[in-house]
């Protein structure tokens, strides 16, 4: 079973990492956040527990600068600007791709050009080469009352029509024991109000209209209810806040390969999100409702007039609307027009990608002032050069992009500021990537080293004034870093294979807003200077064993780098055991056992949100 990273990561002009289903299983990942943690240059902000909020941030730029796409269309939240990746199950995912900077695949929506980094989630496309249907039934169970059955069914209806359907249910109590110290005092307690119950369902339709045309349609549903335990507050364990989330969307994608030289793709999506924040405190009950809709259309035309030189023109339109039950809701609506012109050149020794994105945003509100119209041009250029005939490349890239202020930044109660400018980022990356299948005893070995320099300007931060906070463009951050990625595979003996991966990240992200401030050149909040991960898998005919490790050095829970704000470094070790039983007619049963956080330390990623100690999971997958 080959589980190496695809060679795309070596030939890419900007850092790109991919993970296929086999590797996800090998690493023991149960949800998207688990898998993403193994990518380098990325941090997952985790509030602990099964139902907790988890967001992805590329190179400490923040979750709002990282796009998340699901089968080619971005998932967006105009209210908070960040995507909670804990809602995506891995059971029907076949591929995860992380791009830092700009991807070389220019046949994409314009929105995919519009972020500093992007995480692409691709679901399984059914393969009917051996039989006309597939069934996969999975059951996960684990500590803290976790039960998660799921079902994936695909069926070929005719030569041109096939469908796949996915459904899952997840519940957990989530109230794990934890230990935390307040000076000399040991807090030995249990999280409370951490339960979660969610339903997920997805249906995909694949239509082959002709030899050149294809249509894909998707319907998606997500419904969850969870308790919000909040952070640990000294001497007060009371927590009663509940969160209800409902998300429904439908997306359609049409692709036409006119010829070898011309292609067209068009997508449309409608998204409806509703959430309810309920709290019952001694001061009374608060019950806030939020509703967002998005209508999205995109078309991309691609052409390769000369072999190796291709162009694309992408045009996106998005309409976003937010309504809340909060006081003085302004009911903002936003019209976004994105146009991306890109070109890609590829030869045996050299490849380059250049793109120019034009963004135009206009907003309306029912009451108060709307943000002024915004128009910006964002360029990107990246190159890759292979000097020799074997797999060793050098790469360099530059990307200038921004993120718009979210509806919260602009219009939330009194704190919002409709005059906010976008937060802009400039990234420079220089690196080298090497891969080989012929070195020493390795079946496969790849190594990449990238050095980068990022600058964030007009960072949107909340600034306190007398009695009220205000959102302002007041931050400047300068980041210098290095990402090292290693992956390899070797045969130890017949039927015994060893696979390993390792990442190391150095990241110095400093606040350079005000030279006279106490925060000058302080490492920004929650950003470790050193972090890394590793995995070692032994495949054999009996039981496959994987050992995983994750490490982060000290970091600070507040902006000022003083000892009282320091969070200890942590190491998270885990072990996975798995075996697949196979029968005739392609039936199989895969059993996996995970022992997570072997060190049993309640480390914190976000201060006062302790992670669960040692816990276990078992997963059974039956495939037909």
């Amino acid at each position: 079973m080959k589980a190496r990273r695809a060679p795309l990561s070596t030939t890419a002009t900007a850092p790109l990492q991919q993970m296929g289903k086999a590797e996800m299983e090998r690493l023991g990942a149960a949800e998207v956040a688990d898998a993403v943690r193994h990518f380098s240059g990325v941090s997952v902000k985790d509030y602990g527990g099964i139902g907790g909020l988890k967001t992805v941030s590329v190179r400490s730029l923040g979750a709002q600068h990282t796009a998340v796409s699901y089968d080619g269309v971005t998932v967006s939240d105009c209210q908070s600007g960040q995507v909670d990746i804990s809602r995506f199950s891995l059971d029907n995912v076949s591929n995860l791709t992380l791009t830092i900077g700009q991807s070389d695949n220019i046949f994409q929506t314009a929105k995919m050009f519009a972020s500093a980094g992007a995480l692409s989630i691709e679901t399984t496309r059914p393969d009917f080469s051996s039989k006309p249907f597939h069934l996969s039934v999975n059951l996960k169970a684990g500590s803290f009352g976790l039960v998660n059955p799921s079902l994936l069914y695909s069926l070929r209806l005719s030569k041109r029509l096939s469908l796949s359907a996915y459904a899952d249910y997840l519940r957990a109590d989530g109230n794990y024991r934890f230990k935390m110290k307040n000076g000399n005092q040991l807090i030995d307690s249990k999280r409370n109000n951490s339960d979660i119950e969610s339903y997920r369902a997805e249906m995909n339709l694949f239509v082959t209209l002709s030899q050149k045309q294809e249509l894909k349609a998707k319907l998606y549903l997500f419904d969850s209810q969870s308790g919000l335990p909040g952070g640990v507050i000294y001497d007060n364990p009371y927590a009663a806040e509940r969160l209800y989330d409902r998300n429904y969307f439908g997306q359609v994608k049409y692709e036409n390969h006119f010829s070898d030289k011309w292609r067209l793709q068009a997508s449309g999506k409608f998204n409806y999100s509703w959430n309810r924040d309920y709290n019952n405190e001694s001061s009374g009950i608060t019950d806030d409702h939020f509703r967002q809709t998005e209508t999205y259309l995109s078309t991309t035309l691609w052409s390769e007039p000369i072999k190796g030189l291709s162009f694309s023109l992408a045009q996106d339109f998005a309409y976003n609307y937010l309504s809340t039950t909060l006081q003085n809701c302004q009911y903002p609506e936003r019209f976004t027009l994105l146009t991306a012109l890109a070109s890609h050149y590829k030869s045996n020794h050299f490849s380059a990608t250049a793109s120019l994105l034009n963004t135009y945003i206009t907003e309306n509100v029912r009451t108060g002032d709307a943000a002024p119209n915004r128009k910006r041009l964002s360029p990107t250029i990246s190159l890759s050069w292979k000097p020799f005939d074997f797999g060793w490349r050098f790469r360099a890239s530059y990307k200038d992009i921004f993120r718009s202020p979210t509806f919260n930044d602009l219009y939330y109660l009194k704190i919002g500021n409709s005059n906010l400018k976008p937060e802009s980022t400039r990234q420079i990356n220089v690196g080298t990537a090497f891969n080989t299948s012929t070195l020493l005893f390795f079946n496969y070995l790849s190594l990449s080293v990238d050095g980068y320099y990022n600058r964030v300007k007009d960072k949107i931060v909340a600034v306190p004034t007398m009695f009220i906070w205000k959102m302002m463009n007041l931050g400047k951050v300068e980041t210098i870093g290095t990402d090292v990625n290693l992956a390899g595979e070797t045969d130890l003996a017949k039927n015994y294979k060893l696979l390993f991966t390792g990442t190391y990240n150095f990241m110095q992200a400093e606040d350079i807003t005000d030279r006279t401030s106490k925060l000058w050149k302080n490492q920004i909040i929650y950003t470790p200077k050193h972090s890394g991960s590793g995995s070692l898998t032994l495949e054999n005919p009996y039981v496959n064993v994987t050992y995983n490790i994750m490490y982060a050095s000290e970091r600070y829970s507040q902006a000022q780098n003083i000892s009282e704000n320091r969070i200890k470094p942590y190491t998270d070790h885990s072990v996975s055991l798995s075996h697949m039983f196979k029968w005739k007619k392609q039936q199989s049963l895969r059993i996996q056992l995970d022992a997570l956080n072997l060190g049993n330390k309640n480390y914190e990623i976000v201060r006062f949100y302790p992670m669960p100690g040692r816990n276990y999971k078992v997963s059974l997958t039956y495939n037909l």
Binding site: G183, D235, Q327, F500, A559, Q560
Partner: protein, 356 residues
């Protein structure tokens, strides 16, 4: 079965270097080291950031002009959580922890805990205490469940509760009554009264109509009158206004625009800072002449957040609530001459003087 051990060892060794990096041996605790707080001095109350458990209380020794570290942590080996208000009464110091849902009673000598009083209602919900005032052997505190409670300072137990409604904030006592700010916490323009509680019956006797949103300033001056500030919705309409109540007649009069106040004799030192306008001033209101004058330049201090005056020397202490960094307190003479700047903790909101 041939095992290539050297390959395995090489790779395993490379990867174990990650696990060697963490050293979880905490430094051994040094034991408790209470700081003796000899009067005269001032307690600097650092309320702490939201949900960050980083409140602290420091002691500024007025004789030596030195500032201590966190008194609570030094005496008790742990951090307090959050500290909303601090009240010195008799030989004890009382501190309300709003999000920690408790009242801490500590010794005024060295801040060792005498009693920690957790606050919850019959349904087991945490109660959020806010501000305090003390008189007649009791400390009275407001809470967000709309109550004012009476804490007996001898038994250190709660002996009574009165419902005043709404979100009561700062309060004070004068002429045998409690005057309680009923704030407009929800910004729905319903919070514009002061509740009056008769101390002998411990019942609410009336509500006084005042300017919208009386909030965190409510004090009894050395002249026996009640001075409080209403902050409206911070949009300049109404502006932040200092008002006075005569506790004999319960008549309310407006004095001048102000956001935070401190009184000594005929002078009320104030910070005025409106959110929606450029009205910013650090000045003095003279109760005799009824005129306002500048005290220092507003721009000399970054985000001035609180003002207090030494009742003996007349020195004025103004906090600089720096965003995300440790705050500072600027000390001025009564004539406005700059004396000293000290670095305090997170979100400094009050300075309480102790001369005994």
């Amino acid at each position: 079965m041939k095992m290539y051990w050297y390959k395995t060892t090489l790779i395993a060794l490379t990867l174990t270097m990650f696990s060697a990096c963490s050293n979880d041996n905490d430094e051994p605790d040094n034991g408790l080291n209470p700081i003796e707080t000899t009067a005269p001095g001032a307690y600097i109350v650092n309320t702490g950031n939201w949900d960050a458990n980083n409140a602290s209380i420091q002691w500024y020794d007025l004789t030596k002009a030195t500032l201590s570290s966190d008194l609570y942590e030094a005496a008790n080996g742990k951090k307090i959580g959050d500290a909303q208000d601090l009240c010195v009464y008799g030989s004890k110091v009382y501190i309300t922890g709003s999000t920690s849902a408790k009242i801490e009673v500590v010794s005024s000598k060295n801040f060792t805990i005498l009693k920690t009083i957790p606050l919850s209602n019959e349904s087991g919900q945490a109660i959020t205490p806010r501000y305090m005032t003390a008189t007649g052997g009791n400390v009275y505190f407001t809470a967000y469940d709309g109550t004012v409670s009476k804490l007996d300072t001898t038994s250190l137990s709660i002996t009574g509760t009165v419902q005043v409604g709404g979100y009561p904030e700062a309060l004070t006592n004068a002429n045998g009554k409690l005057y309680v700010n009923l704030s407009d916490y929800n910004w729905d323009s319903t919070g514009k009264q002061i509740a009056v509680i008769n101390l002998s019956t411990f019942t609410k006797v009336k509500e006084l109509d005042v300017i919208l949103n009386p909030y965190d300033e409510c004090m009894t001056g050395d002249d026996g009158k009640v001075y409080f500030v209403s902050t409206g919705h911070s949009d300049g309409n109404p502006p932040h206004t200092l008002q006075c109540i005569d506790p004999e007649t319960d008549e309310v009069t407006s004095l001048c625009t102000a956001s935070k106040i401190a009184k000594k004799g005929n002078k009320i030192y104030f910070i005025h800072s409106e959110y929606s306008t450029d009205d910013k001033q650090i000045g003095v209101y003279d109760l005799e002449t009824k005129k306002t004058s500048d005290f220092i330049n507003y721009s000399d201090i970054s985000n001035p957040g609180s003002i207090d005056v030494d009742p003996v020397s007349g020195d004025v202490y103004i906090s600089s609530q720096l965003s995300k960094a440790l705050n500072e307190v600027y000390i001025y003479g009564s004539d406005g001459t700059f004396k000293k700047k000290i670095e305090t903790g997170y979100y400094t909101t009050r300075v309480r003087f102790r001369y005994k």
